[in-house]
Symmetry: C2
Subunit: 338 residues, 2 copies
DNA sequence: CTGAAAGCGCTAACAC
DNA sequence: GTGTTAGCGCTTTCAG
């Protein structure tokens, strides 16, 4: 391994000067800077982060904390896109991204221990409620955090404006004349589930529509399978007074719900209109193409990185603690006039 | 920050002993071991990787190299699932997973420089051909590598058996009586594209079927949009002699191709049968549900981790350089008798 | 079984 | 402008 000592020797200067050259100290003379760079180039020198971090206490390392349950986490198209953008933005600032784990060597460890072990300067939180306590420990430890999935007290949050999106979807259905609008909610343990459900109730209220409990189905997990189950249940429990439209809180669930509804002999949108939420890539290839609420995951990922790094570097910000990214209704073919 | 010195003082022993305790040296007396653990527990001690790595030269760090072009990389459902499993398996062995980037602090760097900078012990390769030279540099540097996407000389590879999968798909169509089988290939710059296309030709040959160039469409990128374009082109160029079945080398492309074919007035499977490849989660929610070739991404991810860590730890292996994971045909509703 | 001491590669005062 | 020196937190001989 090439070190600054090797370079110092060949460049005819001290290790300290080499270090300074690499850290762009203005005091280093132009000519010695060049000499140093020349030599290190020829030796194929790369600085060693571990040594650097040991003295500076700066690791340039950010952790990401994702659920690892099947179907969740980075496997989920929503999060993978956020992660991708988060990673790219972090890199631009010079920070590297590491998966937080529960393992140190061959020992089980807590998330917090792992974060400390690696000297993570900040952590992106994208965990479900299944591990709140552990996550709360990380937050309480003082490590800088930003969340893109759940809401924790005092932790900056970058999430799509779920209320806005829900209202956009429902307003659209309302304009098409729908008054009997059902709702298939995603798990109410999630912010997405709660806020979309809350906005649904708010909307009905604001329009003076009655809240029919039979029109509301709550799913247990974020998964395709749930959609079929929910659709079956919905149709069953209001067979005598079917809704004319369904607002489904999550595209992935909408896909399977649609397919189930169709297999029960209903036409979409002629018999029942459907609006989803998320605008997953495939929603346009459903038949009919799904009308849904788009959320801007690229912006979420990038902005989460911006905020986290602001925090890490103690930069002032004017952003609110809870930042909401505007949504947009994407109209396709899954809705018709009532 | 709590260090071994703090612990040594309180536990009434030397820092060296603390270190030994934490590294499970058998020479440490049971009672002092307990004392050390007790104290470090109460102080909330966590060892510091940077210091550790500096002396041991072992970072317990593995890099993952993914394409960052839109639609590729971890955003791609295929890779995100591989990555998820790779990460989980690596953690079990005590290795942490870091994204390789092209940035060191605020300086642009090569992948190799970044790997050296972070002291990565191994790298998972999942890059497209757009950056072969850079990837080749990493490989040549001696850093241990395993590929799940492309094939590089002397680099262990864990990929699904694309030939097997293709043959399964085509054999099935053949049994249904299809003789005019078209092929929409994914980019031939990829192993997936080449091998599936190659197996397609091999199959036609083996059955004594004529290769009709009009029945073959090559797409340029892995994306939904390509599917529509390819479908339009295919239908156009063999309007007077349509195929009765299409083998589409990639589900994502199949989704949009199907939707385009249907919008042109053809029924699937009555007029045209379709088989895809990959068994993406959503293939069962297409209408009709897509018959496709399943590849076992969980196994690929896990096995890639196993192999990489074997390499890192110089463990002997009996695995071939190029490991192929068996595929399975998943029969749904997109094919009918010819 | 335990401890002293050297050193991993680098940075940061402080002298010069 | 440049060099000397100490030290970051840990592991690892080697004595004892």
């Amino acid at each position: 391994m090439v070190t600054i000592y090797d370079i110092a020797k060949l460049a005819g200067c001290s290790p300290a000067t080499v270090s300074k050259a690499f850290n762009n100290y203005s005091s280093v003379k132009e000519s010695t800077y060049k000499k140093v760079m020349e030599v290190s180039e020829s030796l194929g020198y790369t600085p060693n982060t571990n040594a650097r971090a040991l003295t500076t206490k700066k690791t340039w390392l950010i952790g990401v904390l994702f659920s690892e349950d099947t179907g969740a986490g980075i496997t989920h198209p929503h999060f993978s896109e956020i992660l991708q953008n988060f990673k790219m933005r972090s890199s631009e600032y010079g920070y590297d991204v590491l998966f937080v784990s529960k393992q140190i060597g061959n020992k089980e460890a807590s998330y917090l221990e792992h974060c400390k072990y690696r000297g993570l300067e900040g952590v992106l939180l994208a965990m479900d409620r299944n591990h709140v306590d552990e996550v709360q420990n990380v937050i309480s430890s003082g490590i800088k955090c930003v969340s893109v999935e759940d809401i924790y007290p005092d932790v900056p949050t970058v999430i799509a404006d779920y209320r806005m999106g829900t209202l956009q979807a429902l307003e659209y259905l309302y304009l098409l004349g729908h008054r009997k609008i059902a709702h298939i909610a995603c798990p109410l343990t999630s912010v997405a589930g709660r806020e979309r459900y809350g906005a649904y109730l708010e909307f009905l209220n604001s329009k003076g529509l009655e809240v029919n409990p039979k029109y509301i189905i709550e799913t247990d997990v974020f998964s395709h399978e749930e959609g079929s189950k929910a659709a079956v249940k919905l149709l069953q429990q209001c067979w005598d007074d079917l809704p004319t439209a369904i607002f489904i809180a999550y595209d992935d669930i909408a896909f399977s719900a649609m397919s189930t509804i169709q297999s029960q002999g209903f036409r979409i949108p002629e018999d029942i209109s459907v609006v989803g939420f998320d605008n997953l890539k495939l929603s346009c290839y459903m038949s009919p193409a799904l009308t849904t609420v788009h959320q801007d995951r690229a912006t979420i990922g990038r902005m989460a990185a911006d905020r986290l790094i602001q925090l890490i570097e103690n930069k002032p910000t004017e952003d609110a603690l809870d930042v909401r990214i505007p949504t947009k209704l994407i109209v396709r073919n899954s809705c018709a006039r009532a």
